[in-house]
């Protein structure tokens, strides 16, 4: 007679999972492709574009690509924290605009560029905090709240700026945009720092575990004493903070603060999160995945431009890739 635990089917299945599957089994497993979608996509794009247009692989183009990706990487990180709680932040790109306008106005008022940057980041963080409070304390669905703040911020930005762009001629921002350290420009280093800090916060702190628990099963997390509302508010505040950092990078890059919302930033931040294997149902997230997803989307636009494909086709390509990625995600473990 064998004891029950020796022949319990579930436990043998569990034991099998611990042993390493063979490479061919791994390559045939759809969940492998789902988990690594952004890496596979990036490698695929680099190969295709590299063959079709060798300039794509030149050091100068790769550096430009990374520089162009920095803003989206930072935004995707913010979106990741929100999506990990099973939410979504639709006000992200509008918050970037608000941050830029506040930066421009405070700087133009002669209060100094540092104060301008700090106030911009504080304002976007406050928008995130407000989102979180309305969603949790107000018990309003996330997309309704963030759609509302998207509209509210748009109006606020137009009112504050009078609909006019503000030139920001600051040597600090000029250095930030054009300076470099080692192989990368400063914006790339900002994005790298954001990835490292976010990765540590997600995987190596209590907050990170509580964030995933809140996104996974909010009631169970609450029954174990996790303050799930605070966790959600923190996630939206982080998203707002990332929008603030992105607004600094944006103003530095274009040299002025424009009362315009770049909606493709919002769509691409969600797309990068999906490509990065983060579950839109919450509870499952990584930072490297969305960061690589953001790189991949930027590489797509960069490569299509080099191939002289009309800019009109770029949103179409991004949309197709995101839907494809979402289809693959259905096979995720």
């Amino acid at each position: 007679m064998s004891t029950p635990e020796q022949n319990a089917p579930v436990q043998t299945a569990g034991a099998a999972e611990e042993s390493r599957p063979s490479l061919s089994a791994l390559l045939l497993d759809p969940s492998f492709w789902a988990d690594w979608a952004s890496v596979v996509g990036l490698v695929g794009l680099v190969i295709v574009f590299g063959i079709a247009q060798p300039v794509f692989l030149s050091i100068a183009n790769l550096q430009a690509l990374l520089l162009a990706a920095a803003i989206l990487v930072v935004l995707s990180i913010g979106q990741t924290f929100v999506v990990a709680t099973a939410g979504i932040d639709l006000s992200l790109a509008a918050a970037v605009m608000l941050g830029a306008i506040i930066l421009g106005l405070v700087n133009a008022a002669g209060w100094g560029i540092f104060l301008a940057c700090v106030l911009a980041v504080l304002a976007t963080s406050a928008v995130g905090f407000l989102n979180g409070v309305l969603i949790t304390a107000g018990k309003i669905p996330d997309f309704v709240v963030t759609l509302g703040t998207l509209s509210g911020i748009t109006g606020l930005g137009l009112i504050l700026s009078g609909g006019e762009p503000t030139m920001v001629g600051s040597t600090f921002l000029l250095k930030l945009a054009s300076g470099s350290f080692g192989p990368f420009g400063y914006p790339v280093w900002v994005a790298i720092a954001a990835v490292i800090v976010a990765h540590i916060a997600l995987y190596h702190t209590r907050f990170g575990v509580h964030l995933l628990a809140t996104g996974g099963q909010v009631e169970s997390a609450g029954a174990l004493g996790i303050r799930t509302n605070r966790v959600k508010i923190a996630a939206y505040t982080i998203s707002g903070f990332c929008a603030g950092i992105a607004s600094l990078l944006l103003v530095a890059r274009i040299g002025s603060a424009e009362p315009l919302i770049n909606t493709s930033l919002l769509l691409n931040s969600v797309a990068a999160v999906v490509l990065g294997g983060v579950s839109l149902f919450g509870g499952r997230a990584s930072i490297l995945g969305p960061a690589i997803g953001a790189l991949m989307l930027t590489a797509l636009v960069n490569g299509l431009t080099l191939l002289s494909v009309s800019a009109f086709y770029q949103p179409l390509a991004v949309g197709a890739i995101v839907v494809l990625a979402a289809l693959i995600m259905r096979y995720q473990k």
Partner: protein, 254 residues
């Protein structure tokens, strides 16, 4: 039959008086008085929907009751939320609110009680220590788990139940509350949990046990409380009752 008065209140580790809870128009329970004595195993029985789980959730801070008083160690209004209940030394195995599917076994065992290392102002998770202690906790309760790094989603109902019992019992709590802990378990695993409850009692840990198994309740508990349709209808010493009497109390056929 109601024998509440013969238990001196100073003995109670957790008690309530006049407790009520409604969900919209649904009455979960009304005007419930209950107490669990220190160092005893206190059982709560009753048919499906009688209000047992909701009572437990009110007692450990998950739900806020509509009215009435709760006392822990004689102190009124003890917990505003489950975190305070856990910090006061109450661990609960909830009937449905148990594990986070996407987290690993070790992460679930240490959820909201993570071990951290401090590096200056930053507290980082000590994942290695948690994995090792998780293995030790599981093996102490002879729970068979392929790996503590496995996501809980893949585990069987019994394994999941075992983890949530392990989390509650393995942490040095003063009071362990278990809502139908053996409902999903096989014969041998049920035996393990019953042995665990006896061991907790020997270590003078108080236990509140919700169960539908009257034989189990009579074997394990010191005092039995009976709920019927949202009311606490009776309480008896386990040694002085019979299975037939419990059936009669639960169904109201007495």
């Amino acid at each position: 039959m109601s024998a509440t008065h013969h238990i001196p209140s100073s003995d109670a580790i957790l008690a309530c008086e006049g407790l009520s809870k409604h969900f919209g128009g649904i009455r979960a329970f009304t005007d419930v008085a209950f107490q669990a004595r220190r160092g005893e195993v206190t059982a709560v029985i009753g048919d499906n929907g009688a209000g047992k789980s909701t009572l437990i959730r009110c007692l450990v801070g998950v739900h806020v009751p509509d009215g009435g008083e709760i006392f822990f160690d004689g102190r009124p209004r003890p917990f505003a939320n489950p975190d305070e209940a856990r910090k006061a030394g109450i661990e609960t195995v909830h009937q449905n609110l148990a594990l986070i599917d996407e987290l690993t076994v070790a992460q679930n065992l240490f959820l909201n009680r993570e071990i951290v290392r401090r590096i200056g102002p930053i507290a980082l998770l000590d994942r290695k220590a948690m994995r090792e202690q998780a293995r030790a906790m599981l093996s102490r309760l002879s729970i068979n788990m392929p790996s503590v790094n496995q996501r809980v989603r893949r585990l069987s109902g019994g394994q999941r139940q075992a983890i949530s019992i392990c989390r509650a019992a393995g942490s040095g709590a003063k009071l362990v509350v278990m809502d139908e802990p053996t409902a999903a378990l096989g014969v041998q695993e049920t035996g393990n949990v019953e042995a665990l409850i006896r061991r907790l009692r020997e270590q003078e840990v108080s236990v509140i046990l919700v169960s539908h198994n009257f034989d189990q309740v009579r074997r394990l508990s010191d005092q039995i409380w009976v709920m019927r349709a949202g009311r606490m209808v009776a309480t008896v010493r386990s040694s002085e009752t019979t299975g037939n009497e419990l059936v009669a109390l639960v169904t109201g056929a007495a």
